[in-house]
């Protein structure tokens, strides 16, 4: 009994870490650039494939594949902003359509390039099992949770303590006045898209050894991360963080105590309830 609960707690935190990582980037992009960046779903997939090929084709160690995934995700995200979103700045509806188009385009490009077949990304950490008084968990799972927390501390430091972070927050609060301070808006956009792509890529490469690498793998995490942004409160770092973990836990425990059939439905029930009862989200400002 207690072991089941502990195991589900770990599973919930692992999947929650993935939602939180994607949602933190999404919430920054959404609140500053005004784009619900569906393309992050495709970036998630491409980053996982980059990690997969680094390990299986190039025979580099798994840790190195994380770096390759991050570089892939960051470059892809920044390029998409420059090439696809920037020329459409000022017409948010067109940007939304392009974002949705990219979401499908990247998934289908992955099918075209690598077939829909699921692939296994081997990680040495998955083979190391830790035992705590009869309860066992793989080091990979612990790593996902620990890495997520380390990244959140780093992002929080960036946003709160650095000059760049202050410029990002100022741009989020009042973009026009921010430019009057000498802040280059294009540069801030590049930074937040880089950050978003980086976090999405890390999430994908960390969780890939636990599930599988396949072209549609980004769909559900992306949709759920979008829900987390609304649930946590648009633009709220702490909201994306807490909301992601909360959703991860609700899903895993809901799957056990309610029904597995609803596992992927809880997110959207939460979305509807949030929009009805707390449209600003948990940590929203208005």
């Amino acid at each position: 009994m207690i072991e089941t609960i502990l195991a589900q707690l770990v599973n919930g935190l692992v999947i929650g870490a993935v939602y939180s990582l994607i949602a933190v980037g999404l919430t920054l992009i959404w609140s500053i650039a005004d784009i619900p960046d569906f393309a992050q779903g495709g970036i998630y997939t491409f980053a996982a494939f980059a990690a997969y090929f680094t390990v299986t084709l190039l025979h580099f160690p798994y840790f190195f594949s994380l770096v390759v995934a991050v570089i892939t995700g960051t470059l892809l995200s920044v390029t998409i902003e420059k090439v696809c979103y920037r020329p459409l700045r000022g017409s948010p509806f067109s940007q939304l359509l392009v974002a949705i188009a990219l979401f499908f385009l990247l998934a289908n490009l992955a099918i075209f390039l690598w077939t829909p077949k699921a692939k296994i990304l081997p990680s040495p950490l998955e083979g190391i099992i830790l035992n705590f008084a009869g309860f066992s968990v793989s080091l990979q799972r612990i790593t996902v949770i620990a890495a997520a927390f380390a990244l959140f501390i780093a992002v929080n430091f960036l946003l709160k303590r650095t000059k760049l972070g202050k410029a990002i927050r100022a741009t989020a609060q009042d973009p026009e006045t921010a430019t009057l301070m000498g802040i280059n808006r294009d540069f801030i956009y590049t930074v937040i898209f880089a950050l978003g792509g980086c976090l999405t890529a890390i999430a994908a490469a960390l969780i890939a050894p636990l599930y599988a690498v396949y072209p549609e793998m980004g769909t559900l995490p992306l949709l759920k991360a979008l829900v987390v942004v609304v649930f946590g409160g648009m633009g709220s770092f702490i909201g994306a963080l807490a909301g992601g973990f909360l959703l991860g836990l609700i899903e895993t425990f809901g799957a056990i105590y309610v029904s597995v059939a609803y596992q992927h439905g809880f997110a959207f029930i939460i979305l509807i309830l949030t929009l009805i009862f707390k449209p600003g989200g948990l940590f929203g400002r208005s």
Binding site: D174, E176, T179, I183
Partner: protein, 234 residues
């Protein structure tokens, strides 16, 4: 220092400025007065690069700035105190001030500048760790001015600094503007409080329906019959 020649500015299809020319010399306070909707704010936004003229030129020191982006213009030494203060509400007073010194040119003087603006506005020092959104209107105006000063600008443009403030604070703000001018800061002041603006400025331009209709030294404008009737209500 600032030379504006024959600029036309429009918002989409609607033209709001017509053939506007004026200049600001080093060390002056120049007032820009007129009724609501005359084009005062548009003029300032055009100088700061938030809008671009469809015709004409803007020269600051030796640079043509009419096509430059706002963040480049700040770097050259023009700062703006925007209408309605526009402090960053969820940043602290100190963080707002630090952002004022965001440019490369200004950031090397950050500590000195902070000391200077805290001396000018001791209340900001007391509240440095408070969120700017929780300050009173007068304090927010002081913060907006202080933030502009942090940029080490040679020219500061102020858009309606007295708007919506109680009379004692208004007096204080105008005193500060005069005091800053004595420290060799050139000021372009947009005001609906015409009497006050003319009192403290060296020269003034009157703008109506997007055109400059009158200009001269402030003292003589204060005595001008037309100005008295139209703007001073006497």
């Amino acid at each position: 220092m600032l030379n504006i020649e024959n600029i036309d500015v429009s918002y989409g299809e609607v033209q709001v400025l017509w053939d506007v020319s004026f200049n600001v010399n080093k060390g002056e306070i120049v007032a820009f007065v007129g009724s609501n909707g005359a084009g005062k704010t548009t003029t300032l936004k055009t100088i700061s690069g938030l809008l671009h003229p469809i015709k004409g030129s803007i020269k600051f020191l030796d640079n043509h700035i009419e096509k430059m982006k706002p963040h480049k213009i700040v770097e050259l030494g023009i700062a703006m105190v925007p209408e309605g203060r526009r402090v960053f509400p969820y940043l602290t007073v100190l963080e707002n001030l630090e952002l004022g010194a965001y440019t490369k040119r200004a950031s090397q003087y950050l500590e000195d500048s902070l000391e200077w603006v805290y001396q000018l506005f001791p209340r900001l020092k007391e509240r440095k760790n408070q969120l700017a959104g929780t300050l009173s209107g007068g304090e927010q105006q002081m913060l907006a001015i202080a933030r502009a000063l942090m940029s080490k600008a040679q020219l500061i443009m102020m858009d309606e600094p007295s708007l919506g403030l109680q009379p004692t604070i208004v007096t204080e703000i105008f005193k500060t503007i005069e005091q800053l001018n004595k420290q060799e800061i050139t000021i372009l002041l947009v005001e609906q409080n015409v009497a006050k603006a003319l009192e403290i400025s060296n020269r003034a331009y009157v703008i109506e329906n997007g055109r400059i209709v009158l200009s001269g030294d402030s003292e003589s404008l204060l005595k001008d019959k037309e100005v008295k009737k139209a703007y001073l209500g006497i």
